[in-house]
């Protein structure tokens, strides 16, 4: 699998570290235990398009939001965390 890093260009999967679901955001500090538990543990786990965190660990060290199809592994978009509004 290849991922196109917005800074470094197309690179082999082996250069990246995978973290997990990027559709969940850290709740505000006072949101409570249920919100933080959901942030850590509740996952939609879709069969299909998924947005997930990859870090270009062996390259520019930037965290990237990657849109990947969980069945075909097709990659639709790669956006750096820094500078993307969400």
């Amino acid at each position: 699998m290849r991922i196109t890093c917005p800074y470094c260009g197309p690179r082999d999967e082996a250069e990246f570290a995978f973290r997990g679901d990027a559709t969940v955001a850290r709740p505000p500090a006072e949101a409570g235990a249920d919100a933080f538990a959901a942030y850590l543990y509740d996952r939609a786990n879709p069969k299909g398009w998924h947005v997930e965190w990859f870090q270009h660990a062996l390259g520019c060290r930037q965290w990237l939001r990657v849109e990947r199809h969980t069945v075909t592994h097709e990659i639709r978009s790669v956006v750096a965390a820094v500078g993307s509004t969400e």
Binding site: A17, R19, R26, A35, Y39, W53, T72, A81, V82
Partner: protein, 977 residues
Amino acid sequence: MSRIAAGGRIDRSRSLHFRFDGTAFEGHPGDTLASALLANGVRLVGRSFKLHRPRGIFSAGVEEPNALVALRSFARHEPNTRATVVELFDGLVAESQNRFPSLRFDVMAANQLLDRFLSAGFYYKTFMWPKSFWETVYEPLIRRAAGLGKATQFADPDRYDAMHAHCDVLVVGSGPAGLAAARTAAEAGCRVILAEQDFEFGGGILREPAHEDWRAAQLAALAAIPDVTLLSRMTVFGAYEHGEFGAVERIADHLPEPRPHLPRQRMWTIRAREAVIATGAFERFVAFPGNDAPGVMLAGSAASYATRFAVRAGERAILFTTHDAAYDDAFALQDAGAQLAGIVDPRPDSAAQQAARARHITVHAGCEISATGIDRRTLSSVTVRERKDASREVVPCDLLMVAGGWNPAVHLLSQAGTPLTWHEGMATFVPGTMPAGLHAAGLVAGAWGIAQCASSGAEAGATAARACGRDAVAPHLPAAGAIPDTSVMPLWEVNGKGKAFVDIQDDVTADDIRLAHREGFDHIELAKRYTTHAMGTDQGKTGGILGAAVLAEARGEPVSRVGLPKFRPYTAPVTWGALAGEHVGRHFQPTRRTPLHDWHVTRGAVMMETGLWLRPAYYPVPDDADAWASVIREGRAARRKVAVADVSTLGKIAVSGPDAGKFLDLLYTNTFSNLPIGRARYGLMLREDGIVFDDGTTSRFGPHDFYMTTTTANAAAVMSHMEFHHQAVWPELDVQYSSITDQWAGMSICGPCARAVVGSVVDLDIANQAFPFMAVKNCRAAGVPAKLFRISFSGEMAYELHVPAGYALHVWEAVLRAGEPHGIAPYGLEALGLLRIEKGHVAGSELNGNTSAHDLGMERMLKKRGDFIGRTLADRPALKDPARQRLVGVRPVRRDQKISGGYHLVARLGETQSQGFITSVTQGAEVDGWLGLALLANGPERIGTHMIAASPLHSAEVPVEICSPHFVDPENARVRA
């Protein structure tokens, strides 16, 4: 001898000598081991997996289920190698497998007497009684009886290489379709890689001498184009995402030994824009009683032995076929000098049947084979049975050619996501719509005949070239020939008395499939695993679909509804050596050395691996009786005089910027934004779920300048953790951070004389008031830039001196010179551990991913105000419960007794309810005997009580007292002295 006098692709001018089961034979270059054995009249080559039935050579290719031999000996001994793909070389030595004492007389053939009890899945229903027999009788017996070949116990002397390649078009298979596709794409200007698993290019053409000129012309043209890579002896075993393919190239398998400086095999990772799969098809057999006898062979393979290898696989042959094309295979045997004793065809009539009669071959139309006869372990006759009235005739023969139809080799296509569809005419699965970037050409796509396959290949090559932005020119096609009627009568099974196998390697019969269905394993994936059908090294290439068909009939559904089990890599066996490549031994992982590594080694340190690092464990001197004597001596030097340790491996991260303090406040449970300049502070880091992640000492050198340390093991993880939270969670923070672990060396100088030693090396006033406990300062040490920290892991008065890595040795030696009058000793990782355990400092064994701040007695470090990672979930009652296993110290009641890490703490002797366990142990430098840290339920409340430290594995039951984890100087007087 069964060698045909003329023809074939063998070099009769040279003879190759080889041995099989101790007997010497001769063959020629161009032979496989199988063709050479057949040429020498060897019909018996193995014994089947479960029932130890005699087996002969079944095919002429990678689909071979039977002829598994062990090649070579000692370190290069190679079990389970298919004789049909072994290129014969001079001096080859092969042994048959799975038989004792010999192929002819195998005692395990007695299994056949028990065959009624050895049906599919028998092991799920047996070996249960009596219970004690499992470990003592059944398991050892099964271990000895199971499996085929035996692996060598010696280390592999050969090297294995790895290659990464990119291309525009990867063509897999060099038959007419592959050759045409490769040439078309290459002439359009594409970079082409052509991979062929055989040692000769040509695929099906290799047994069609009439098309040899065309084959040679394509190869010559391809060899002349610079951007074409031709690779024979190369098996593409897997199709992965994004056009990535895995392949293994057998560089030296056909040589007695690899040539010097060359690897034995090479693993290729190929990234292709477009791929043309031209892998052809595998012939299938039919499940009839006795279809496993030596002498039963696939029809196309028998013809291949005749035309490519000039070997008659038998003298008196019968063909059993369900379609016309196989008749040509029978004719090839006849042309090679074999007597055709008959053709058995379940169909009433066809064009081929008439052609056969014209050759004076008896055709038994509307008939099937219902049994085989064996004499001296090889085929001697077949029973031909009329389908209408069941009348029988026994026909003598020594070769039965079976032609059930052809199954396109869709493995790579399916792995890459191509669905399979049912083809009525061919009665098999063919590829459906392919995903982008993937093309199927030739027989694998259902084309038939050299010309049609070449045309299909040229078209695929042109389409692939166009997808790469290049225009294709007119293809070079062979002359078109007559295409026979390719329709196949779907005949999967013949009923009758005796075992009708659907998997010849694993001894799975049609009855076994029906048994699986009766027992509820009616999905193809379940039936496969329950019976082990198609799970052998041949992966059911010749009989997989038979099992699906038998299952379909049992379910009353068409075969297309049952389908085939999912295709996954690898398509053929791949050696571990090829997968490991150069990553073996010391090269399995990188080795990290500290800047002082050479000094430690020269000093005679016993080095140990911690993660990727090599660190000194201890520095033995001649007077030390054993390892612990060294460690205790070093520990005592640290507690009584002065000692120095290399702590360069600790993670170090420079954190700077206006929001550096704020960032640290979010990372740590305690506050760093208020840390005064010139001070260090111990910090605790949690995971977001409230479990302790890491700890370290972070110092402030300026208003926007922090120097963070982490544990050695977590340095990389903490860095990633910081990067994620800054980039993804708090991008508004104005902070920068970089890893400087390798850029700075660190040494820890501790002991009552530490101040005197350090004071004479650095240019600072380090009197207690000028430089109190937890002070930090930039300075110069032995004339070079340095950072001095007054922090203590050992519990003694201590300093850490960090210098740029290039100056490490210079400063280390200066410290040693300054310490000599005080009796300074270097101390290693073991003594580091001894000191911190005596002091009660937690480390990796306690920060084990399960402990909370409360468990470690650090709840007061959780700041009351302000957000930090892990704050909310650390507050969950279950993580603060006193009944959790919490940090305590532990000592044997009798000081001469030993305790070990992992021992469980139980209330009394014989009790099996564990209350906790010992996490770290050491012999004491100041404390007498063994001591340790432990995590114990209600731990701190049980200080002063006695328990038993138990380990049934070590037959240990040691009475221990629970005490404070701080064995030495609990008031911290020494560190503040």
